[in-house]
């Protein structure tokens, strides 16, 4: 489009423990749009210092990568090590693993839906600003988050960076009365999550669709969370050990983080991908809420991820309740895992997408090599493409509105940097 007014938008770099992010958008005279999202991911450092550590330390060390999704790191690490050592964890211990992970989903999704992403749609600078006019969703979000926290404490010993998980299972089994005590809060959480989904249905969602390549774990019997096979929405299906043959990380000049492609294409992991590939396996009330929200098939509008997160929160609470209700006391919540020379990979579905780990260990259990591919790095290229298309489709927006909606477009994917995004400052410079 010749004659376009050239523009530049810049989002300043921010440092947070989950990483740093910056955003540069340029609209050229010929109408082309360039978007560069630079994310620094601490896991790169972890891969280095994991070498030489004992294989049993990987879950607790990698959990420190992220304060919001430590269970994802622990789960992927445990499974990779168990696979390297030829051990499978199933039954009641796997149930507990899912329960802890659902706690993380509830906590993370509740925070994002109500306090990080929701305010965007109502035009508020932050959840705090929104709280004054709309206390109900904020209070509900905090209440849901607390139930997630309580599940984390029950199985992990504490809310943040839980320490209950170990390679092979858990250090100790929860007590029956403690599990039963979660029943009432989870019943309330289901109602709250349903209310949250309805609330997201009242939000004004921008019209915007992309033709995404989705990548998620898929499981025959459940909406995948702790494990599954790799699947895409174009028919790909493979064991997790195929991950590195298809997902290639490249270093983009503008970013300290590696960017991923799947068979050469940008792709997306996370709620939209999971929903597209496994929605028929959602819990009953989650399915019902999806129908009410008009989510009748794969959703290609990233702004609607808030709907899917709310639906997933219902699912997490319902599944958690089912696990709590069928729990019977167990003596031992782990299986023995003896080290052996070899490699193993593991993947699980963090709230914001697929998290892949691979380790090579020696016969004594020392880590020789570690590979961690977090969801934010995988989604980075798709996030940039979202921005290119969004900016290109909205030449009518003034700088302030364009900057606001670009930030919102980043938050659609709940990247690790979302903990800081409401403090992002967008500067617009005209050439």
């Amino acid at each position: 489009m010749a004659g376009t007014v050239p523009r530049k938008l810049r989002v300043e770099v921010l440092a947070r423990i989950e990483g740093e992010a910056g955003l540069d958008i340029a609209v050229k005279r010929d109408g082309r749009v360039e978007a560069h999202l630079a994310v620094f991911e601490p896991p790169r450092l972890f891969e280095g210092f994991l070498r030489g550590r004992d294989f049993r330390e990987a879950p607790d060390l990698t959990a420190r990568i992220c304060g919001i999704c430590p269970v994802a790191y622990q789960t992927s690490a445990c499974q990779a090590m168990e696979r390297a050592c030829g051990v499978t964890v199933g039954g009641a211990v796997r149930d507990l693993r899912r329960l802890l992970y659902f706690g993380e989903w509830i906590e993370s999704h509740a925070l994002h839906v109500h306090l990080l992403h929701g305010p965007d749609f109502l035009g508020y600078e932050s959840g705090i600003h929104m709280a004054a006019d709309h206390p109900e969703p904020v209070v509900r979000g905090l209440r849901l988050k607390k139930v997630g926290n309580d599940l984390m404490t029950l199985l992990g010993g504490r809310e943040i960076h839980p320490v209950g998980m170990r390679v092979g299972g858990f250090w100790r089994a929860p007590r029956l009365e403690a599990m039963r005590a979660m029943r009432e809060p989870l019943l309330r959480a289901i109602d709250d999550a349903v209310a949250a989904a309805r609330w997201t249905g009242t939000l004004d969602i921008p019209e915007f669709e992309r033709d995404y390549l989705f990548l998620a774990l898929r499981h025959d019997d459940e909406y995948a969370i702790v494990d599954g096979r790799l699947a895409t929405n174009n028919g790909f299906d493979a064991d997790v050990d195929a991950f590195e043959r298809h997902v290639v990380e490249v270093h983009a000049q503008h970013s300290n983080a590696l960017q991923s492609t799947f068979d050469g294409q940008a792709f997306l992991t996370g709620p939209l991908a999971r929903f597209a590939l496994s929605r028929e396996l959602l819990s009953p009330r989650a399915k019902e809420a999806a129908r009410e929200l008009g989510l009748n098939g794969p959703c290609m509008n990233p702004f609607r991820s808030i709907h899917v997160r709310a639906v997933e929160t219902i699912h997490a609470a319902e599944e958690a309740l089912a696990i709590v209700e069928r729990f019977e006391p167990i003596e031992r919540a782990y299986v023995d895992v003896e080290p052996r020379e070899g490699s193993g990979c593991g993947a699980s579905e963090a709230p914001r997408g697929l998290l892949y780990h691979r380790y090579r260990i020696d016969a004594g259990g020392s880590i020789l090599e570690a590979r961690i591919v977090p969801p934010t790095a995988q989604n980075q290229k798709s996030m940039e493409e979202d921005l290119v298309r969004w900016v290109g489709a909205h030449p009518e927006l003034d700088d302030e509105r364009l900057g606001w909606t670009c930030e919102q477009a980043i938050r659609n994917h709940d990247p690790c940097i979302s903990c800081a995004t409401h403090f992002l400052r967008v500067r617009v410079n005209r050439e």
Binding site: R16, I17, G67, L111, L115, L116, S126, G127, I128, H129, A131, A132, P135, V138, V139, L142, K145, K146, N149, E159, I160, H161, S418, C419, A420, H422
Partner: protein, 158 residues
């Protein structure tokens, strides 16, 4: 919900990050001396959980590290019930929601306790793995005494 003590002291910060351990260290020392009816907590991470923690309390005292132009070890008292916390208490947070944000969220929701006093201790270093600086270490016993005075009902002076 279990019944709550009317007073709560929160030491906010991370033990393993140099002077960010000021809050938890004060909490540790207060735990041994706190009067009956006063709950003492260390809050290392879930800052948003503070909103729930002080709901229904009459008196809450928070201790946190701060970064301003003051000399390391400087102690400042803020009445968070009366006004928003200054940004000096928000500069060293590595979370989406720092103490100042939690205060404002609680204020917006009408969930502030009857009294909310925050003590900020100026830090010098916050590197992971480093101990408390000498200046902050020297200041902490004084903070403990001032917090005890708060809990005794006597208002401390700035």
């Amino acid at each position: 919900m279990r019944s709550r003590s009317i007073a709560l002291v929160c030491g906010v910060g991370r033990r393993e990050r140099g002077d960010d351990a000021a809050g938890p260290t004060v909490a540790d020392r207060l735990a041994l001396r706190a009067p009956a009816g006063v709950e003492v907590r260390v809050v290392e991470d879930d800052i948003l959980g503070l909103v729930d923690a002080w709901t229904g309390r009459q008196r809450v005292v928070l201790v946190d590290a701060m970064v301003s132009d003051a000399e390391p070890g400087t102690v400042r008292r803020f009445d968070a019930k009366a006004e928003a916390l200054p940004t000096v208490l928000r500069a060293v947070s590595s979370h989406a929601f720092d103490v100042g944000a939690a205060v404002e969220l609680a204020r917006a929701l009408g969930r502030l306790p009857d009294s909310l006093v925050v003590y900020g201790v100026e830090g010098r270093r916050f590197e992971g793995g480093s101990p408390l600086s000498t200046e902050v270490e020297r200041a902490l016993d004084g903070v403990v005494e001032r917090v005890l005075a708060e809990l005794g009902g006597g208002g401390a002076t700035s």
